[in-house]
């Protein structure tokens, strides 16, 4: 047996140099990776749509002023205005091409080409449930922005979302300042929103349930030194500034496939909608239906497309079907329009989730083409 030869010390400085170089190369390679987009699924990105004149026709809560401007200008132009509200499916495109088109842009172009009078304006928020859609509607319901038609994309799993995000609270406060501080008793839209508004204020003022990770050096001289060193490094070294994205990319590339392997072995975990959350969402939906009726806004509710070959996704498909059967029954009872688009988009146009599982909700441009065409066809059939 030969004696063990020691490692040459030269390995260390060379390795350190290569490590620094490796960081630069990886940061360059992953420069387009946006960690925030990972929540939409792999290679699924969010977009905004503009019409032929370059005017924005879609956006999120922060774009509400521009979208309100579009509703006003289209109304002045004598067109039938349709406000289209929904969740991330409306603004997300899987594996987009060079100029991806959202469903709303497809519908808008189709309407123009066929000479229809309808003008679409879309506002979408990730995981938006009926409560947030009710809040968003408040920003547009006063003339002259009040739409002629409201198109609602509903999905069963978003019934679990009963919190108002900050951007929606800001939108609501601008539209209905009277709701801030209101007591919120009863089942009308104002009462429901006042309660949600008060809950959002409480959550903002209360410390989060999980302890906030405090730095071990908080309040010490090292904290100030560390902050200035990190800021200097980030300013001088772009690759270092990209480290958070690089870390997220690393997680996506390495950790998540392993987790998904487990999921594949034992199936996807089924989430449960809290009955109380569902009750709040359904109450908000009823309030929104009633409010559009009293506003004279014609309502179209459609079942958002889901991957047709998946029987089991966030919840059992049976749960989706049962919920939409209830909506269809309510539509015929209360006189609003209902459209079943759940199996509209073929399975092959959907992408993968951030856990490398089939994404049941976000699709490619072909899916947007089908959805936009279906919605505009519905308007065409009604003379718009």
């Amino acid at each position: 047996m030969r004696a063990r030869t020691p490692i040459s010390w030269v390995s260390v400085p060379v390795g350190v140099g290569l490590g620094l170089g490796l960081l630069v190369v990886l940061a360059h390679w992953q420069r387009d990776f946006v960690a925030d987009e990972l929540g939409l699924g792999l290679q699924t990105y969010s977009f905004r749509a503009v019409d032929a004149s370059g005017e924005p026709i879609s956006g999120d809560a922060s774009d509400a002023p521009a979208l309100a401007g579009r509703l006003r200008s289209q109304r002045r132009a004598g067109r039938t205005t349709a406000l289209w509200l929904g969740a991330s499916q409306l603004h997300a495109v899987n594996r987009p091409g060079p100029e991806p088109r959202l469903a709303v842009a497809v519908a808008e172009q189709r309407a123009r080409e066929r000479g229809g009078d309808v003008a679409y304006t879309q506002l979408s928020l990730p995981n938006a449930g009926p409560l947030e859609l009710l809040a968003v509607y408040q920003a547009f319901r006063e003339p002259p922005t009040r739409p002629d038609r409201l198109v609602l994309a509903l999905t069963y799993d978003d019934l679990s979302e009963i919190a108002l995000r900050d951007s929606v609270v800001a939108l609501l406060d601008a539209a209905r300042p009277d709701l801030a501080g209101a007591s919120g008793t009863g089942s009308g839209p104002e009462a429901i929103l006042a309660r949600a508004r008060a809950q959002a204020a409480r959550e903002r003022s209360e410390p989060p349930a999980a302890p906030v990770e405090r730095s071990a050096i908080a309040g010490t001289p090292q904290e100030r030194l560390e902050q200035s060193l990190v800021a200097t490094l980030e300013a001088l070294w772009p690759a270092y500034a990209e480290r958070h994205s690089l870390r997220s990319a690393g997680v996506a590339a390495w950790k998540l496939p392993l987790t998904s392997l487990v999921f594949r072995l034992r199936g996807r975990p089924i989430q449960r909608i809290d009955p109380r959350a569902r009750a709040v969402s359904e109450q908000a939906l009823r309030a929104l239906i009633a409010q559009t009726r009293s506003d004279g806004v014609a309502l179209l509710v459609y079942e958002a497309p889901h991957r047709p070959d998946a029987e089991r996704f966030y919840h059992d498909r049976d749960a989706y079907d049962a919920f939409h059967a209830e909506i269809a029954a309510a539509a015929s009872r209360e006189g609003f329009a209902h459209l079943d688009l759940e199996r509209l988009v073929p399975a092959e146009t959907y992408g993968l989730t951030d856990q490398f599982l089939p994404d049941v909700f976000h699709f490619r441009e072909e899916g947007h083409r089908l959805l936009g065409s279906a919605i505009d066809r519905w308007f065409e059939e009604r003379g718009h």
């Binding site: 040459s8 390795g15 350190v16 290569l18 999980a210 050096i217 060193l229 480290r243 987790t259």
Partner: protein
């Protein structure tokens, strides 16, 4: 100052070249003392005065002990040194614990005492007090035992006590191992510098990538209601925390030993594949070796009457020939104190007693005692889960949580596949880390028996360094302190 920070890397970049640029050992000693005080003051400067006070007390006490031939005077100075050091340790670390237990007893007797916080008393635990107290105590005892002569040089002694790589969380080294090296005329060698830095890289990788990577899974598991966890969940949580604390603390030790090596000082290793031990006794010759060696020589040896060692190597696993009942009592007492040294809570005492019970069990049952030699693999497979289960009280937030979780492990009804609460990703990672540990050890052992060509070893070392450096840069943030800082 935290090791896992840019501030520390900058500190090394400034102090190491400056140290080697100075000519004489005395100048270097002053530089190291100043740098160490600066290092400590980056946390809270006022507590560096406490470190200096503690050091000065022992410097004077050891000098008086050595100067006197009278056993009475020598004992009095030793008692004074121990009184001051342990008094400070108890005052800063155990006041809340003692008072809370008195409060509990008083409450049981029908008397309500106010909480210390309500009385306006707020005690901040000085960083590293448990470690530097042990160092200064060992110095005075070694002089008392005439193992070493007292050092004449105050700066050498201050440097020994405050030397930053070991100041906050060990290794707990003896004066006889460190002071001669500090006083020697050390010669700069590029090999020492870079291999030392290589060890710093390894240590930071263990901490910021591995330990901090496992931390969220551990935090999640231990934050759950124990009633929601099944036995498999508890095993996963215990294994993950066992790995986390190993990477955390051995990572700290690697950075400490590597930093000292960059200055030409050689410290003994503090961890030696502890999770490959086949008996509880062997585990404590591999885990936190400098601390268990300290406990062996300054606590267990006096209690059993066995001879002590003069170096912080070997751990606490050596056999002794003293009277069995005295040994058992000493063992329980030693581990009880060892547990409470780790933290002022009953959970730590339970952890210590759990290890004492394991050692006693292996002593008492002949089959178990012979197991490691006859069936080493089976012995390892038996000991590893026992060791990991021992981490439950160490990590638990309360005695109740610890006992509930450990109860799950011995409850057959808790072994159900369905209804797990810990995410499956955590199960997967526990398995991956265990498999990786065995694989790396097998490769290194094979490498030791039949070495690869030197160039291949160098290429592998270079590639590993590059990957570790890149991963550290991505993950480095000074938010997470080392677990052992709380001790």
């Amino acid at each position: 100052m935290l090791f896992n920070s840019w501030g520390y890397l900058l500190f090394l970049l400034l102090v190491v070249p400056l140290h080697w640029s100075l000519g004489g050992p005395r100048l270097r000693l002053w530089l190291l003392v100043a740098a160490s005080i600066g290092f400590y003051s980056m946390w809270r400067w006022e507590f560096s005065l406490l470190v200096l006070f503690s050091a000065c007390v022992d410097y004077v006490a050891a000098g008086r002990i050595a100067a006197s031939e009278s056993p009475g005077i020598r004992r009095r100075w030793l008692a004074a040194s121990l009184g001051v050091n342990l008094g400070l340790l108890v005052a800063f670390k155990y006041t809340y614990f003692i008072y809370d237990n008195v409060r509990l007893l008083a409450s049981a007797g029908g008397t309500d005492l106010p909480a210390l916080q309500d009385l306006g008393l707020r005690i901040v635990l000085p960083l590293g007090i448990s470690f530097y107290t042990f160092q200064t105590i060992s110095y005075t005892i070694d002089v008392y035992r005439r193992v070493i002569p007292p050092t004449r040089s105050l700066v050498s002694f201050l440097c020994y006590v405050t030397f930053w790589p070991q100041l906050i969380a060990g290794p707990v080294l003896r004066a006889g191992e460190v002071i001669p090296q500090l006083e020697a005329r050390r010669i700069f060698r590029a090999r020492d510098l870079w291999l030392g830095f290589g060890l710093v890289v390894v240590g930071l990788f263990k901490k910021v990538v591995l330990a901090d990577g496992l931390a969220p899974m551990v935090d999640d598991a231990f934050a759950r209601d124990p009633a929601d966890l099944n036995a498999l969940d508890v095993w996963v949580a215990a294994f993950l925390f066992g790995f986390q604390i190993y990477f955390d603390f051995s990572g700290y030790s690697d950075v400490a030993i590597g930093s000292a090596r960059m200055l030409g000082l050689v410290f003994p290793r503090n961890f030696d594949w502890p999770y490959l031990a086949t008996s509880p006794r062997e585990f404590w010759t591999r885990w936190h070796i400098s601390l268990s060696s300290w406990i062996r020589d300054y606590l267990y040896a006096p209690l059993t009457g066995r001879p002590f060692h003069t170096r912080s190597v070997g751990g606490i696993g050596e056999a002794t020939r003293s009277d069995p009942s005295r040994r058992h009592t000493a063992l329980l007492l030693t581990w009880f104190i060892m547990g409470l040294w780790h933290g002022a809570a009953w959970t730590f005492a339970v952890w210590g007693l759990y290890h004492a019970a394991l050692i006693l069990l292996y002593r008492a049952v002949p089959v178990l005692a012979a197991f490691p030699e006859r069936r080493p693999r089976l012995a390892w497979m038996l000991l590893l889960p026992l060791t990991m289960a021992g981490w439950i009280p160490f990590r638990a937030q309360s005695l109740e949580q610890a006992l509930t979780l450990m109860g799950h492990l011995i409850d057959p009804r808790a072994y159900r596949i369905a209804g797990h609460a810990v995410p499956l990703g955590a199960y997967l990672w526990a398995g991956i880390v265990l498999a990786a540990m065995l694989a790396i050890h097998a490769i290194l052992r094979r490498d030791h028996r039949s070495p690869f060509p030197a160039w291949a070893r160098s290429v592998a070392a270079t590639a590993a360094t590059a990957v570790m450096v890149c991963a550290i840069l991505v993950c480095l943030r000074a938010a997470k302190q080392f677990i052992y800082f709380q001790f």
